[in-house]
């Protein structure tokens, strides 16, 4: 446990240096959260780079590589001017609101503490952990490299060799720190990711609103995030993607263009975590074009690290002939015959509630009741979520498997990929409604007095 905690702390410290190089105006909880994500991504992808360069893995080599990146980033950060970010914090809260926010944060802390206990009771038990994510990590750890021959073997197709490798490589980083494979403590990585995600969303809300709304967002998100499966790629994907989307939103809606490089790297790390991360990247670019209208699209070119990172894996995947099962068989026939999958797909969707159904019902109700102006302002994140869901539904219609089975076995998990952006938008819309309500009350009071 100590070795795992030390590895996670080292990733955070080195990652903060990288975060400051990418966005010198980032600070506080937002900086620390992004630092952890960047440190995790860097440490993991260094192992992929070592494999590409033919360097055998060892703790000392991985450590030297990671420290070298962090030092270079720190030097780069010192050279960059630190822009002052406008409206860095929302308005102050009343005393009662502060007490409420403290209570909510205690609930969040208790949820995360419970998550840490549960996540480390034993090794991750999920089927997809020991058949996909953990299995690849274990195989690579034993080989001391990404084991291409194992990935290429037809008998191992069940482990989805085409899936991006960041999470298995994160396990390998922790395994190097542990001096062996002790996956019981990998659960701590997931608690750290849950805390990071909650902190990211709360810090972003806090930059536009009072602390109590930040606490509301944290409390709304902590439960559903803690309920995500331990050992699978959903939580890392959600953390990388949400962080990148919030940076992109800040750049597009608030004119904080200095956040673009960070958004590009984080979305690239999302694409290196799951194939759905590439779908999120495409959705983000399309929604970014929509949100930037009638402005220029040129700032979106600063997202280039994202396709560069995604392309790294796609090139390797292609070189080793690791194809995605979605595109296997008669794809053209499935495209023309997609209508045949609609009925089983919608039938299964009706019977497959997502995890934490009350959370989804509450968030969607808030959006339905929200003011049109507030929703229009959040068109970027809403468009990303809509496109993402559309991509997933499109995948179900083109699946080479039974569409109903595909929905039943994945919908619960994949729909969580929009959970954090949904909480963010729901809280923004609720805040707007409360602000308008107060304005109306103020006008009525004012009329009465006159």
């Amino acid at each position: 446990m100590i070795a795992t905690l030390a590895a996670l702390a080292t990733m955070s410290i080195g990652g903060v240096a990288i975060a400051r190089a990418l966005d010198p105006s980032s600070r506080g909880a937002a900086l620390l959260a992004r630092g952890f994500l960047l440190g995790l991504g860097t440490a993991s992808l260094i192992l992929l780079l070592f494999t590409n360069l033919g360097i055998a893995w060892s703790l000392s080599r991985a450590g030297i590589g990671f420290v070298a990146v962090a030092v270079l980033a720190a030097l780069a950060a010192r050279r960059r001017r630190r822009p002052v970010r406008a409206a860095a914090a929302g308005p102050p809260a009343s005393r009662s609101a502060l007490v409420l926010s403290i209570v909510l944060w205690i609930v969040v802390a208790a949820t995360l503490a419970g998550h840490a206990i549960f996540a480390t009771l034993a090794s991750p038990p999920e089927w997809d952990y020991w058949a996909i994510w953990g299995l690849k990590g274990k195989v690579f750890a034993q080989a001391g490299a990404v084991d291409w021959s194992w990935l290429e073997r037809p008998a191992n197709a069940f482990a989805h060799p085409d899936y991006p490798p960041l999470l298995p490589l994160a396990y390998d980083t922790l395994s190097l720190a542990q001096g062996g494979w002790d996956d019981r403590w990998f659960g701590l990585l997931f608690t750290a990711l849950a805390a990071t995600l909650v902190a990211l969303v709360a810090a972003e809300i806090r930059s536009e609103a009072s602390p109590v709304w930040a606490a509301v967002a944290a409390a709304a998100l902590a439960g559903p995030v803690a309920a995500l499966p331990i050992g699978l790629a959903e939580l890392p994907l959600l953390a990388f993607a949400t962080a990148g989307l919030l940076d992109l939103r800040g750049a597009l809606l608030r004119g904080e263009e200095e956040r673009m490089p960070m958004a590009g790297v984080l979305l690239g790390l999302a694409a290196m975590t799951k194939n759905e991360g590439s779908a999120i990247l495409v959705a983000a670019v399309l929604a970014g074009v929509l949100a930037a209208r009638p402005g220029p699209f040129r700032p979106l070119l600063r997202l280039w690290p994202a396709p560069a990172l995604a392309g790294w894996w796609l090139l390797l995947r292609s070189a080793h002939g690791l194809s995605t099962d979605l595109f296997a068989g008669d794809l053209a026939g499935r495209i023309f015959g997609f209508a045949g999958n609609l009925a089983p797909m919608f039938g299964a969707l009706m019977r497959t509630l997502p995890l934490s159904p009350l959370f989804w019902a509450a968030a969607l109700l808030i959006l339905l009741l929200g003011r049109r102006e507030a929703l229009a302002r959040e068109r970027f994140l809403l468009a990303v979520m809509a496109l993402q869901i559309a991509f997933y539904l499109g995948t179900y219609t083109l699946t080479p498997r039974d569409a109903g089975w595909h929905v039943r076995s994945s919908w619960r998990r994949v729909v969580t990929h929009v959970a954090a952006p949904l909480v963010f938008v729901a809280v923004i819309v609720a805040m707007d409604a409360q602000g308008r309500g107060r304005e109306r009350e103020g006008r009525v009071d004012g009329d009465g007095e006159s």
């Binding site: 020991w130 058949a131 008998a155 069940f158």
Partner: protein, 83 residues
């Protein structure tokens, strides 16, 4: 390390248990080449048995020509090639 191990279990249908056992064995035997003896249509993969260095049988004995038991445990037997 690097040995090829074929998997025998009482379940003889891919979707009704064999796939689970094969995937699970891949986890426990990571570092070796684990090969199935059934395909997804429940056809016997004779060539995988012929290429195997070892056969791990869980939940009962297996009658395997040219393989001899090397180790027995409460739940299974490891067979190796007859020399």
């Amino acid at each position: 390390e690097g040995s090829r191990v074929a998997i025998v279990v009482p379940m003889r249908e891919w979707e009704r248990g064999y796939a689970w056992a094969y995937y699970r064995a891949s986890w426990f035997l990571a570092g070796r080449e684990v090969v199935p003896l059934l395909d997804e249509d429940d056809r016997f993969l004779r060539e995988n048995l012929q290429r195997a260095d070892f056969v791990a049988s869980w939940g009962g004995e297996a009658r395997l020509p040219r393989f001899v038991p090397l180790w027995r445990g409460p739940d299974g037997i490891l067979y190796g090639r007859e020399r």
